[in-house]
Every structure is written in C-alpha cells, then in structure tokens.
Point group: C2
Chain length 347, copies 2
C-alpha cells in the first residue's frame, strides 16, 4: 500500500481536516461529513460511524467555521452590535440568556463593535457587519443602523435585522424596552399621591437621550391623561455634584413638589444635594428614581424607584428564531420589558 505523498500528513502545520479524519478511519470524506453532522440523507452503518467518531476524537478534529459558512452561504452568526455597550449586571444577564437560547437553536451570538465612522448613513459599519454574512443582526441602541444599512444587510443575505432598545428604524424589526412606560409608571405614582407639579431630570449627556427623552415623554403623557392642572418641568442636568447643588439651590423658586430623576444614580445625586441645601425628602420634595440599583437602598430615606423587568433571554431567542425563519414577514415591534413602581420612602 503506497503512501500518498500528495496528501499532507496529520502532523502538518495546521489543524486536522475532515480529510485527515477520513484517511484515518479508512473512509471517504463524504462519509465523515455525514457521520459528524448526523445527516439524515447519508445512511451509514453503526460500525463505520464509530470508526469515524473515534478517528475524529483521536485527531482532535475541529471543523473550520469559515469553510462551513462558505459552503452553507451563511455563518449561523447572530451579530449583536453596540456603540456604547450598556454593560451592567442587567445587560450581563440578558446577554448570557440570549446566548444560551440561540445556542440551542444552533446560532452563535457574537458581540461586535459599532465603529460608527461618522456620517456615511451607517454604510461603513454595515459593510463591516455584512462581511461576516451574519444570519441576523441585533443592533443595540445608539448605533449606526439606518434604513440604508438595513437594506444593505438584507441584500447581503442577512435574514433578520432587528433593533434592540433604540428607536425603530424603517426596514428593521424592533425590540423595545419601552422607556416611555417607565416615565408613565413614575408619573402615575406621583399623581396618585396628589402631586400636581413634577420636575423631570434629563441628563445633558446625549448618549442617554435614547432613554431619557422617552422617559420624559412618558411623564408628559401620564400628566396629560390625568386631566388639567398638571405641570411638567424639564430639568437638564450634568452628572456632577456642582450642577446638582445649583439645581437644589434654585429648587424652591421652581414651584415643584416632586422630582422624577431619570434613574437612581441621578436620584442619589439630587437627594444628596437636596439634603445639603436643607430640603427634606419627601416632605419638601418627593423623589422617584428608576432601575432599582442596589446602592439606592442604602439611602435614607430609602429611594422609591421604577423597576424594569427584562424578558427572559430564552423567550427572546425563540422570537428571533421565528424572525429568521420568516425573513419576509412584515416588520414587527415587540415590547420586551414590563415596568412597575417599587414604593419606598422618598416619594
């Protein structure tokens, strides 16, 4: 039996390929593929199955994702893009669940940066994403997904383009964490306690606009539907002690009795400033935060806040799978989170 010198030995430079496995098991490469993928079409005897599996194990065979993707036409990758990644314990959990859920469907979740190279209508970012030929793209908030880039992705074979938490984009499905609802819930609580003039903190950091503006709008909407005589004041604020102290100093002149302060961190900042300025919470000013972070429980008085419960990433995975399977279905908007008030002492 002559040795075929045209074939590289398994001791060569790179990883073993399916051809190496085939040689070792004494079968054809096709058979290896059928066995390792449990393909229904190819009928292979149990005996050779075992031979193939053994050979693959001994060689430490690892399939080449790129070759697979090339052949299959798509990569099985679900791209999660984000400009500013809102890393927190919340996102962390969400990501882990999403990954597990999609893994069960055979997809691979990959978090990929959003270059956002200036004002080219998101084209450069979309091109970078499209090079990977992802099966689906989940575009995080604040990224460079535009109608143009959504179109580009679809033309390159992406089956589902989905925005995650940001504003809806024409041409893409939308998954929302309805920030407006957060404002509604906060406002309804304060209105129920008899407050008729409410201040709303809006961070000056525009990176947060996607969250802050809908929350403000939610407060306004709740105030409107509560009938006349309710005033809502927008208060722009830097996240600094100096700005907070300044706002606290002019608070008495504003004629407001309650504050919805965007989130718990701003709430803590303002409560501290109010106390330094001699104002009592909640007697002089009721304060409501959002997000229910652990630290806010340390404050005295304890902070009333709005908690948003994100979806199980598993359910989300099923939803995404459905969108992938029906790429031509009409675009949908799904609301992911539910908001509810957690009443403590501050308002």
């Amino acid at each position: 039996m002559p040795i075929d010198m045209t074939q590289r030995s398994a001791a060569g430079t790179g990883s073993p390929t399916s051809a190496d496995v085939a040689r070792r098991a004494g079968v054809s490469r096709a058979t290896v593929s059928y066995v390792l993928n449990d393909t229904a079409g190819g009928r292979v005897s149990e005996q050779t199955r075992q031979r193939v599996r053994a050979a693959a194990d001994e060689l430490g065979y690892i399939p080449h994702a790129a070759a697979r993707a090339l052949r299959a036409g798509h990569s099985g990758i679900v791209l999660l893009t984000a400009a500013d990644i809102p890393f927190g314990p919340l996102f962390n959990k969400f990501y882990a669940e999403l990954r597990a859920g999609l893994h069960a469907h055979g997809y691979t979740v990959v978090l990929y940066g959003d270059a956002g190279d200036g004002n080219d209508q998101g084209e450069s970012a979309a091109r970078a994403w499209a090079e990977l030929r992802p099966t689906a793209v989940l575009a995080g908030p604040g990224g460079s997904l535009t109608p143009r880039s959504a179109e580009l992705l679809k033309r390159s074979g992406t089956r589902a383009v989905i925005t995650l938490g940001g504003p809806p984009v024409p041409g893409a499905h939308a998954l929302l964490m309805d920030q407006r609802e957060v404002g509604v819930v906060a406002a309804e609580h304060l209105l129920g306690r008899g407050h008729r003039s409410i201040g709303v903190i809006v961070p000056t950091d525009h990176a947060l606009d996607l969250f802050s503006l809908p929350r403000l709008a939610g407060v306004r909407a709740a105030a409107d539907s509560a009938g006349g005589g309710v005033t809502v004041a927008r208060l722009d604020l830097d996240y600094t002690e100096a700005a907070a102290a300044e706002l606290a100093a002019r608070w008495p002149g504003l004629g407001l009795t309650a504050l919805f302060s965007y989130n718990d961190e701003f709430a803590m900042l303002m409560m501290s400033a109010f106390q330094d300025a001699g104002l009592r919470v909640p007697a002089d000013v009721a304060v409501v935060g959002a997000d229910d972070v652990m630290l806010s429980r340390l404050l005295r008085p304890r902070l009333t806040t709005v908690r948003q419960t994100p979806p199980g990433g598993g359910n989300l995975a099923d939803l995404i799978e459905r969108l992938i399977q029906h790429p031509d279905a009409p675009l949908e908007v799904h609301d992911l989170a539910t908001s509810r008030i957690v009443v403590r002492d501050s308002g």
Copy 2:
C-alpha cells in the same frame, strides 16, 4: 457575443461576488482582487483600477469574510471571551479603544461568550472558539481557559493566547490588572496613618474571588513588610444590608481601627451600617474603598479610595500585535494598570 448561461447574473439571489465585479469591469477576477486589496504583486494600470473600483461601487460589492478566512488560513479575528462580564463603564472605554487599536492593525475584535460547559477542562469552550480560527484569543477573567484549552487553540492555528486580568494560565501570555497592587496601596496608606490592625472585606460571592483574594493578599504583603505588630483580619461579607449591620454590630469587639472594604460599593454599604450603629468614620474606624466610582463622592464623609488607571487600549493593541507576530516568543506577563490612592475624608 453569446451570453454565458453558466454564470449567475448579478441580479441573482445573493450578494455580488468578485466575479460579478470582474465581469462588469471586463477584466479577470484576479485583477479585481489585486485592485481591491492594493496588492503589490499585481501590476495594474491606473485606468483599469478605476474601472474595477467603479464596478465594485455600482454593484455594492462586499467581500465574503468566510471565503477570505478560508483562503488565508486565519480569520483576522481577535476573540475576546468573557464568562461573567464584571465590567462597568471602565471596561466600556477599554473595549472601544482596544477595538480601534486592533482595527488599525487590520484585526476585528469580537466579544464571544464563554459557555463554560462544566468540568471538561475548558475543552468544549475552546473548541467553540477554535472553530472561528481566531488569530488571537483574549480570555477574560473567570472563564474556562485552561492549559489544555490553550494548547488546543494553539494547535488549531491561534497565534496568541492571552489571559486578561485573570490568574496566569500555563501556555498563555498574561495581561494583568494587578489586583494585589490595589491591596498594597490601600494598606500602605493606612499603615502610614498609624493603623496597626486592619480589617479586609472579602465578598462571599466567589465570582469576585479573582479580584478580592489578590487584594487581600496585597494587604497582607504590605503588612508583613511593615515589620511586626500589624494584624490583618479577613472579614467575609454578603452584599446585603443585613450582613453589613451584623458586622457593624460586632465591630467594637474585633479590636480593629481600619477597614479596607474590597471596593467602593462595599465601602458605601459598610459606612452606612457603621453610621446606623453609632460608629464615627474615620474617628472610630477608617474606611478605604477601591475603584473610585462617582457615587462614592456623594458620601459624607467622602470616601478615600484606590484608583486603578487602565492602559490605553491603543498601547495594548500594539502589544497584542507584537505577540501575534512572534507566536513562539517566550510567554510574558504584563502588568497593565497602575494603582494609586485618592485621599479624601474617610480614612
């Protein structure tokens, strides 16, 4: 001129390929490749260059990353893996800079989950990573990188395997954010103020062991090198108000004068508990935190803390590029961060 029916038209189902571009520009596919990659080897006239570029533009040609990777043997991907993402805004910045830096070298940074499927010596996770044939793997702390998986990655063609912030792993380079140094800096500060008996908070959450234990060890080391008569007490603590209150209640019996409390969040928790228990900070107990988060500045007294300055992601990118270029260089350990004390009022 007969139409070649064997060739798919550009109006076909998928993205245009380089063959489509070639046909449109009236040149061969090789020429297209030479032009679009600015390859030195192929000599192409300026005139045809422009024709090719125009054709590529008009067709919206996007190269197929998988095909490229297959041909090149590696994907140009730098895999950043993480099990529990313990990161905050700090990591955010780090990630953005790293991505930009490596992008300039032609690499693509991708954050990839760490499945960590139980006790298989990290093999399943490593196999999943290896399928992508990444050029380098940056393994986050708490992940499933083991000597075995490092070996597996290298055999599959990964040029550099690097741990990021976790404990060093045989077979991999190590990039540290030296947590031990944090403890040293905190302890030296307290020793300099005359404290001779120091408590050290260690969170009971073992996910944080990678940070907390080295910090504790740093305190011990500093105490040892300060000469005799210094005691260091390890204090395990849940991150709950109840546990903090309990510790504050038995504090007077411990005979300690200072507390290094792992990080700012635990410091805030304990300061709150101390005050509820009637202990004065820093008169009765000096408190030092770590990480210098914004919220800790709101506390009264203001919190003394250890700030860790991470490296510029750009420098890090250069370092990684070097490791990739010299895959057989001896393993190195690099310290990334520098720690220094930020003295405020609490200790």
